[in-house]
Assembly symmetry: C2
Homo-oligomer: 248 residues x 2
């Protein structure tokens, strides 16, 4: 258990070997054992293996090759569709067309996805989360025919790894853990927390390639820019609204 | 690994035994190994053990006794605070004050929380997610001094179990898994999916106690009502805005 967690690395190159049905069933079942609000299970997972559909998803996901390479693509959705239909069929008046319900359902979906990740890795599979899931939610809705009350929140490439990447570095634990209450960061805390990463050979190389003065600038100017964030933020909110979750 | 996942149950009664420091450190470190967008680690976890603070949190969490009983309370937050400060200190212009960035950070926090849950359970600890985390986000912000760009998204009670609950039932897998694309539900699908749960002795008892005709009505009329959802939805959106994540 613990070993699986500590050995996790995102896999970006996959073998073409298919994932056996029995293994796929078990890792999806592992997802269903995660905590879920009020045992409502207000999420869904779409298993896409069809090549044409995966090609469409690959285009949506900024043409990241792993979407084409990995034989299985999983789309986890916040999903109040089934639950709402159940209520309507049972003389009950559903009130789940609001932002809180969307977020509740997103939590369900994300906890389930992480169980699936760890179960997959325990079976020797590799995975990669695609950050583009929320950026391109509107396009994913179209490709996968997602109806009202269904919004994609996490996508995974799943398959057998064709690379053995090193463990990714992490910041010291003081960067993420606060004791009792939140202890805000002073300039010297920030310097100390980022020191090792900033002084690494990898960073020096990145700065040279990107012609930047600081590592932070590579994030703000290249990887996660204000302009892109604002653009995709508006789109994602529109998708949440269009899927029926913004009645206030 | 797989066994830990399949043995998960939420624990609502705890022993007073403290969680050893070494165990706590390891389970939090397990959280830090989860995937995180662009390795930014835009989340935080607040470890609250102080009795007075836990009493305040207990009140915020609808006075659910497990918050007082469990010796450790963890609050997982979507957190762009440290990252934003780092950017500002490194001549980089951060653009993370928008909804997409909030959601990205929430994903980071939720994946980390689920790793912590499984690592805790592998160590013989019990946990319970508190759905009230998002309902009462504004109050949690006050109690834990959460600054701008920090929003609580998941709270956990953590401690040694003082009960052995049965495994919770789940709907058949067809309720959550879709092949290739979304296959929408027909009335007969809904009937089939909910049949076993609706016909169980537990449901019959619930209907009698609550004087309701259908199980769905217990959700819509008692547990998760439209009125409450709308109220807490507005509050949660306001908190996200007040914490700085709604500049569009």
């Amino acid at each position: 258990m613990i070993d699986t967690i500590f050995n996790h690395r995102s896999i970006r190159k996959y073998k073409s070997d298919p994932v056996p049905e029995k293994v796929l069933d078990e890792i999806l079942k592992a997802g269903s054992r995660a905590s879920t609000t009020g045992n409502m299970q207000v999420y869904s997972a779409i298993v896409t293996r069809d090549e044409d559909l995966r090609k469409q998803l690959w285009e949506a996901h900024f043409k990241q090759d792993m979407v084409l390479q990995a034989p299985v693509h999983l789309t986890f959705c916040a999903d109040f569709r089934r639950f709402t239909k159940w209520c309507e069929q049972r003389k009950a008046d559903p009130g789940y067309d609001n932002f809180l319900s969307f977020f509740t359902a997103a939590i369900d979906a994300l906890l389930a996805s992480q169980n699936v990740v760890l179960a997959a890795e325990a079976h020797g599979l590799g995975i990669c989360y695609l950050g583009t899931a929320t950026y391109m939610a509107d396009r994913i809705v179209e490709i996968l025919d997602l109806p009202e009350y269904v919004v994609p929140v996490a996508c995974l490439a799943v398959g057998y790894p064709d690379e053995e990447p090193l463990l990714t570095d992490r910041l010291p634990m003081e960067a993420i853990i606060h004791q009792e209450k939140y202890r805000d960061f002073q300039p010297e805390d920030i310097d100390r927390i980022y020191k090792e990463r900033e002084e690494s050979d990898e960073t020096k190389e990145l700065l040279e390639i990107n012609k930047k003065e600081t590592l932070a600038q590579i994030f703000t100017d290249n990887r996660y820019t204000k302009k892109d964030n604002l653009h995709f933020s508006k789109q994602f909110l529109k998708t949440i609204e269009r899927q029926g979750f913004m009645n206030q």
